[in-house]
């Protein structure tokens, strides 16, 4: 019928009859069977009819395959298969699709509410949408998916509204996470996979995005409460959910940052309050600022663990911590800058008999934490100076727990902040090692000389000037026994190092001296100055203040401190007339024969002078030099530079060490102008020119 030439070519009629046949069948059989059915029955019937239709069309198309091959392709008509489907579509599907969609959505909502539905049925119906669209998803998306997504949005909007009021924040999040999981499974069971992203997005939008504020700030259970209570699981869930929505993490990080800020501020406040109420004794105030340091470290650890364990180690949260701690760590507490407090803290850890007794591993960990806190402090040079001074004392009085730990801290500082800060201190440690080695040689030397051997155990530590802090020492008159020791070492040293000059710092020495009291002899551990003073009493039982000062050649402020430590403090080695707690130039001192203690060996401490002011002065002086050097360096390379730019670069170059005050930089620029290193540029306003 089809291969003959026209007018005997019946292809067209055949094509049309084919369509008619199908149409007829549909009209007469399929449509009536679907009429009057509702809900699931309708769906089932439809699925059945569609299956039949597909079979029919397939077979029919095979019969008339010849049409497909020639007529259809020549006339650019729909292939028979698709023609068949389009019949079904036009006559059946088009009419029913709204009802179908609604029914499907009802079923899905029912499942959401927990009812069991016929998943296979739903899948079959949805497959129709896909198949009838000839493989493209146009129908699926247009007729089903859009409505489905809208209804999903409605559904979750209602649910969210209810839940957010009734449930606590963690409960809400739990429910939200479950819903999302179920929706994902739903896609697997009967929806087209392409729907997944859109479905989850829309659900998240309703559940999380739109309610983000309420979730985070829920009273009694919101984000802040969870942070305070340490609810890591809930926080992790929160982070997981919020990370899936736009700006979610940012909002979460804002709340986190507020939290850290507030915690920090309350720490500061309680420390300051405590300091103000107890502003008398220095020891208590000292303990307060140490307490503060410990609490800051604790707070930091806690917040860090949140970020690592709950907040996916995300940089936004690390940044929040950094910004909050930079504020907390740069405020003064109990009259001490954080730099000083931190240095005292290190001293306590690293010193023998310090207030913190830690095992090796714990010590290393703590040192690591100290360095982390230091990254938030802007006055690092101040910390280093305090640390250097305290290190000096530890080394010279043999108070350091362990050389290894000292070096470890220095290498950590070097790693983070560069070698400039640590080179002097490394030199100090080097000096100590060398001194120990030297001592062995010196002992051998001493054993060989017989006449001038003072027969006193004696050791000397040689320090390289410039690496150590400057120590005050005066030319006190040492007792003859000590003079012999000094002479012996001088001879030894001069013979070994011809070109080096020694200056003696007696004020930094210490001495073990046995005092024969009535009851029993006791070994006293004292400073060299104290020992020299006590040895005066070998020659006289009674000495007046002025006699002591003259015989020792002591400056007055030293004399006051020394005599106080020996006669008015815990151990009264000397008796004083008159019997009171202050030293006056008219006092008389006597050796206290009756002194005794249950120990055989006691340390008579000499309280140190307050060096805080000097440290701050020294640091300020160094800063002026550093700023000058930075300005000259920058101007030398740039020749001409605008004021603001110069300031910005200067601050940057110095930022590792400290944060320079902008006014100070201006002052140094003016100073350099008057010293003719720079001049104001005449051509460009607000600029400077380097003067070679």
């Amino acid at each position: 019928m089809c291969t003959q030439k026209p007018p005997n070519d019946y292809s067209k009629q055949l094509y049309e009859r084919y369509k008619e046949a199908l149409d007829d069948y549909i009209k007469s059989v399929v449509v009536p069977s679907l009429k009057g059915k509702h809900g699931e029955f309708l769906l089932r019937e439809l699925v059945g009819r569609w299956k039949n239709h597909k079979v029919m069309v397939r077979w029919l198309s095979r019969f008339f395959h010849y049409l497909d091959r020639y007529y259809v392709s020549r006339k650019l008509l729909l292939p028979l298969n698709e023609l068949g489907q389009s019949c079904f579509h036009d006559l059946v599907f088009k009419e029913l699709k709204t009802t179908l969609t609604l029914t499907l959505i009802d079923m899905i909502d029912a499942e959401r509410e927990g009812q069991l539905i016929d998943r296979a049925l739903v899948k079959d119906v949805i497959d129709i949408y896909v198949e009838i669209g000839w493989g493209s998803l146009g129908l699926y998306e247009g007729d089903f998916e859009q409505d489905f997504l809208n209804s999903t949005t409605d559904y979750y909007s209602k649910k969210a509204q209810a839940w957010i009021v009734e449930d606590s924040c963690p409960e809400y999040l739990l429910k939200a996470e479950e819903c999302l999981q179920k929706e994902k499974e739903r896609v697997g069971h009967y929806l087209h996979s392409k729907t997944e992203t859109k479905l989850l997005e829309d659900s998240l939008l309703e559940l999380i995005s739109r309610r983000a504020e309420q979730i985070l700030n829920k009273e009694n259970s919101g984000c802040r409460v969870l942070l305070l209570d340490g609810k890591t699981e809930d926080l992790s869930r929160m982070c997981r959910l919020f990370s899936r929505v736009e700006d979610g993490l940012f909002q979460l990080s804002k709340v986190f940052k507020e939290h850290v800020n507030e915690e920090g501020m309350s720490l500061l406040k309680s420390a300051t309050d405590a300091a103000n109420s107890k502003n008398e004794r220095k020891e208590i105030v000292g303990a307060l600022d140490q307490d503060f340091v410990r609490k800051v470290i604790e707070l930091h650890d806690k917040q860090q663990s949140y970020v690592i364990n709950c907040f996916q180690n995300n940089t936004v949260f690390h940044k929040a911590i950094k910004e909050a701690f930079e504020i907390i760590c740069n405020k003064e507490v109990a009259g001490c800058t954080s730099a000083e407090s931190l240095a005292t803290f290190c001293d306590n850890i690293l010193r023998k008999g310090g207030s913190e007794k830690l095992g090796d591993e714990a010590l290393e960990e703590t040192l690591e934490k100290v360095v982390t806190i230091l990254t938030y402090i802007s006055d690092r040079d101040l910390f280093v100076e305090f640390h250097r001074k305290k290190l000096g004392k530890r080394l010279l009085f043999d108070k350091s727990v362990n050389d290894e730990h000292e070096r470890s801290l220095l290498s950590k500082l070097k790693q983070y902040f560069g070698g400039q800060l640590t080179s002097k201190m490394e030199g100090m440690l080097g000096d100590m090692t060398r001194a120990r080695d030297q001592q062995a040689n010196f002992d051998e030397y001493m054993s060989q000389i017989t006449e001038s051997n003072p027969r006193v155990d004696f050791s000397v530590t040689v320090l390289t000037a410039g690496r150590w802090p400057t120590y005050k020492s005066s030319n006190i008159n040492l007792p003859s026994e000590m003079i012999k020791c000094v002479e012996a070492f001088k001879n030894y040293y001069d013979s070994k190092e011809k070109c080096k000059k020694l200056s003696w710092l007696y004020s930094m020495g210490n001495c073990n001296i046995v005092a024969k009291f009535d009851t029993k002899p006791i070994e006293l551990i004292v400073t060299t100055y104290q020992a020299a003073l006590l040895l005066l009493f070998n020659g006289a039982d009674r000495l007046s203040y002025s006699e002591i000062v003259t015989q020792l050649n002591l400056p007055d402020d030293d004399a006051l401190r020394l005599l106080h430590s020996l006669s008015c403090a815990k151990y009264k080695i000397l008796n004083k007339e008159p019997l009171n707690r202050t030293i006056s130039p008219n006092d008389i001192f006597l050796f206290n024969h009756k002194f005794t203690d249950k120990m055989r060996r006691i340390k008579v401490p000499l309280p140190p002078t307050d060096e805080k002011k000097k440290v701050v002065e020294d640091v300020n002086k160094d800063r002026r030099f550093s700023i000058d050097a930075a300005i000259v360096r920058i101007m030398k390379s740039r020749k001409v530079m605008g004021h603001q730019q110069l300031v910005v670069e200067c601050v940057e170059q110095l930022s590792r060490m400290f944060k320079p005050d902008v006014k100070l930089i201006k002052r140094r620029i003016e100073d350099l102008i008057s010293r003719e290193y720079l001049e104001r540029d005449l051509e460009t306003t607000n600029s400077y020119r380097y003067l070679a």
Binding site: G642, H643, Q644, V647, V662, K663, K666, R667, I669, E670, I673, S674, R680, T685, N686, S687, Y688
Partner: protein
Amino acid sequence: MRRSSKKSSSSAPAGQTKAVSKEVERIDQLFYTYADSSSGMVDPEGIETLCSHLEVPHTDVRILMLAWKMGCEKQGYITLDEWRSGLKTLRADSISKLKKAFPEMVQEVTRPSNFQDFYPFAFRYCLTEDKKKCIEIPVACELLNLVLSLQFRPQVDKLMDYLKYQNDYKVINMDQWMGFLRFCNEIIFPSLDNYDPDQAWPLILDNFVEWLRANKN
């Protein structure tokens, strides 16, 4: 940069008219009436006499302007060369002519291009010893008053108050001195709206503006 107004003394070139050489003679003669015979210069006493003849107080700004016109290097002293060049430019060879020349001289100095040169001259003129680069605060205040108050009375008043009040600086250097002029010329007063401390103003002016703003009430 100094405006060089010194001309080396030279004898009148041949062909110079008689009138001119007469003028030079009169100028020189006038010089010698005030000059100290041993030093060959007009000294502070001589200047005072000159001022009384001119009927101008010797602390008047016009004397300072005259010194600028003459290119005087040392405060309180006038050399023959300086005298000659000054009076020649002013076309004065007698006291009365000199006096008459004053109003025009004031106008000339106040012209911005000349004032830019006169102003630092005033500072340098007040430097007393060699190598000294600063003047004390009280002297600076007086000088400000003398030199700027005609044009910038309100600024000068406030500035003088501040300089006496503050104690960050005990002396003023040339850079700060020039800054004062720039401030008066560029900054709207008394609102100070266009003053930006982040620019390269000398720190003393930053502090001055801060003080002004704090004491507005």
